[in-house]
């Protein structure tokens, strides 16, 4: 009995092995045909001198840019034959997922993201340098500086954006030169609950306060002769503390508060409770849809120097684990052409990073933002920046909430940030 069972078991195994052998036969033959077919096509069409490349590239894009990149992908495929497999990823996960998955070989060839990821991605060894050659000179200098890390370019920028002061022309028509006058003007407007709003929320928002901070000469990090950030804090010292004191004043004037988060600030502007809001291009469409006539101007200076918001640069990174690096580099080269940058402007509506394309933009709103960002600096990209944001926002919030003396909170923040950078 047992013998027969063992025999049957062996038979079963052999059968399943045989079945599997058949399966694996087809699976090994598939790659062979896959390899053969491009050669066959190239061989069968010798008439065309440079046969189009075939293949596909995987790109991770967040929800806000997926449509633009899908359209760019079809344009790219039309001109080169390489298709772009555009995969949507939630914007808050895209970087973390990429860092975790790239080493396993499961990651994409390219990702679309902000320039301030470069430090983090480089520290994890998941992005490859990009060599654009002389094409670099055609780009907005801030955009290139944003994607440069340790003297090496790590991505191709395609758009820049920054915040500015958005004005409801139905409530006020001209904007004064200083922030104090702005507050006075805003308070005098009939029906306005707030003179001007700058979004904060429960975790603070240093990004939206930065134009005011820089007008005190307190930039986040000092810059070296090439314009690259050092790790020495520029906001330590009396300039930063002067801003901290002014922040308390802004809280007293109801310009900023913990309960005015992004949604609440936007709603206050939509409800005409404030004539001014400090925000970016992403909200303009909603304002215009609500029938508000808006203009964009630079944020008035509070501390005497011109306000300089952070400039965010959007671009495409190349994975260091890409199996298709050659095609991917061809795509990046295409992305650096005026043709591609014009197309992305058309699809996404952001100021192109290529100067030649940016100069063609005639939109008064985008030009207003460009004017507001004239003195702007790229957001720092050092790996410890995540910690900096957290401490920075939390310290500003504790000043706004009146939980700590401005100068004390500011000094504690400077110490914490310095510790975090030293530990990293």
């Amino acid at each position: 009995m047992r013998k027969s069972l063992i025999a049957v078991a062996t038979a079963g195994l052999t059968l399943s092995l045989a079945a599997c052998g058949g399966g694996s036969g087809t699976s090994t033959s598939t790659p062979t045909t896959g390899v053969a077919s491009p050669e066959a096509t190239t061989a069968s069409s010798p008439a065309t001198s440079a046969p189009a490349a075939t293949g596909s590239l995987t790109v991770w894009v967040d929800e806000t840019r997926i449509d633009a990149f899908k359209q760019l992908g079809s344009a790219f495929q039309a001109s080169t034959g390489v298709s772009l497999d555009v995969v949507q990823k939630p914007s808050q996960d895209i970087k973390t997922d990429f860092i975790a998955q790239a080493p396993t070989g499961e990651g994409p060839d390219l990702i679309v993201g902000a320039h301030d990821w470069v430090g983090d991605l480089q520290a994890n060894g998941v992005i490859a340098p990009v060599e654009l050659g002389d094409a670099v000179s055609g780009f907005n200098e801030i955009a290139i500086r944003g994607f440069t890390f340790d003297g090496q370019l790590y991505g191709v920028p395609y758009a820049t954006e920054n915040i500015g002061l958005v004005r409801n022309n139905g409530m006020v028509q001209d904007t004064p030169a200083t922030f104090d006058e702005l507050i006075a003007q805003g308070k005098a407007v009939e029906g306005a609950q707030f003179p001007v709003v700058i979004q904060q929320g429960a975790e603070g928002d240093a990004y939206h306060l930065y134009p005011v901070q820089t007008s005190f000469g307190a930039s986040v990090f000092k810059v070296d002769a090439d314009g690259a950030y050092t790790t020495e804090l520029g906001m330590a010292g009396p300039e930063g503390e002067a801003f901290a004191a002014y922040l308390k004043k802004m809280a007293d004037e109801k310009v900023v508060s913990a309960s005015l988060g992004a949604d609440q600030a936007k709603q206050a502007f939509l409800d005409k409770k404030t004539p001014y809001i400090v925000t970016g291009v992403w909200n303009i469409k909603d304002f215009q849809d609500a029938g508000i006539d808006v203009s964009v101007v630079p944020v008035p200076s509070a501390g005497g120097q011109p306000s300089a918001p952070f400039v965010g640069v959007q671009g495409v990174y190349l994975s260091s684990k890409s199996e298709n690096a050659l095609l991917a580099n061809q795509f990046l080269e295409y992305l650096a052409t005026p043709e591609a940058q014009d197309k992305l402007y058309e699809f996404a509506g952001r100021t192109p990073a290529l100067t030649a394309s940016a100069d063609k933009v005639k939109d008064p709103i985008l030009n207003g933002f460009a004017e507001a960002g004239k003195y702007g600096q790229p957001m720092p990209a050092i790996a410890a920046m995540g910690a900096v944001w957290k401490y920075w926002g939390a310290a500003e919030l504790s000043i706004i909430e009146g939980k700590a003396e401005p100068a004390v909170a500011w000094q504690a923040m400077v110490k914490n940030i310095n510790d975090a950078i030293a530990a990293a």
Binding site: C20, P51, A258, N329, L397, A404
Partner: protein, 522 residues
Amino acid sequence: MSPPTTPSRLSHARDLSRPGFYVKLVLVMLVNAMGVYGIMACIPLEEWGVLAFLVVTLLVVDYVYFSNRAIPAKYLVPGLIFLAVFQIYVMVNTAYVAFTNYGDGHNDNKSAAITQIMKTSDRRVDGTPTYPLTVLDRDGRIAFAIVQDGEAKVGDAETPLAPADGATVEGEKVTEVEGAEVLNLGQIQQRQKEVLDLRVSMTDDPADGWLRTDNGTMAYVAKSTLTYDEAADTFTTADGKVFKADPSRGLFVAEDGSTLSPGWRVNVGFDNFTQMFSDSRLAGPFVKSLVWSFAFAILSVLTTFAMGMLLAVVFNDPRVKGRVLYRALFILPYAFPAFLAALVWRGLLNREFGFINQVLLGGADINWLGDGNLAKLSILLVNLWLGFPYMFLVCTGALQSIPGELTEAGIMDGAGPLRRFGSITLPLLLVSVAPLLISSFAFNFNNFSLIFMLTGGGPNYPGAPYPLGETDILISMVYAIAFEGGERQYGLASAMSILIFVVVGLISWLGFRQTRKLEEVL
């Protein structure tokens, strides 16, 4: 030993003349087929661990289902395999990561780190031109051809660039070379790894750099700022600075302490565990979060249970009219996804614009989520709203299973309603719901989504050295330290989650031991 096997005693699955056997045969064949497919898929990927697991599992499965000695195992094996994959593996992997420095900057293994350092140090030489490139196949080896100073030059991995005889040049590009095949884009793409890896020396002198390409159409002159010495395991810069591999830190470190990026994963022993207690910046918030985690979990269980039980008792009374409607309404909060509800409550509790302050309290200025104690209260209240329907449901079910005679016997003995509740209903109720209270405690102890969505752990301690807040429970503290501090530290996060696992496990074990005593009332 084995009982005599007669055909009449043979099970369906062992009798060759009955269909049961063939059903079994087909099922086991399918399992074998999938297993063998998995094993063969592992070989090209070089996943030897998975391969070994599949081989062992397959052998065990075949033995168990074809032998007549392993009857209990036939029932247990599928469950045990799933246990191994979904529980044991995850736990072992977490424990393994807890002893490594896996995290930002130590994301991959050492060879990947070396490759990446070499890749990023291979840079274009400033001020050199780019050349239109022709990629050639010369005797099976890839070669590059460019036009330099009006002259066609060819070189490959072994031979530096040298003038090529019999080459045709059109404009700036070489179009034909004698004795070599010009590759078109499709062919270049087929061999892209060879093309991308090829470095053609400009001259015999390595200091002149080499020719390389990123896209197969343009080439540029590059030079490496670092050289790797495999025997010594060091990187050396052009001016002689030496970075030595430090296996204890997973980094290339120079004598002045500067490092190369990226590093690699190494075993760091108990560092992650001791860091929680030795790092004074962590120890303080850790204790505070621990206390609040217990307070939150215990109070959440008590409040939701008290409220759920009260409503269940009231609406279990046949004298209440419209019970079905009320019960349906009470279950509504349970039907909302918890994190969505937490987000809605966050909006309702906003200090200046929230519905609670503006409408219910007539424009009051109560800082629900911005004040430490009020934020804790808000969390407990929202969790009460979220959690009581569950307790209401289980208590209603348990109450209906308590025999009415017991209550009647109480009435006969002259016990009042409170006495009957305290001596009959509550003890019987606890017998069936006590295990659920323990699981509810374990759930709330790790109730990350509520904390994260409602307060994000805030309000933050002003000036605290880590972005931690007063309402952070342990699990949200782990998240903040491991992911929000700017640097992801998977090793530290794993070590902390192991500690939480120990705490929850201990509490549950103690709790279940106690519930056995409750059963003695029966």
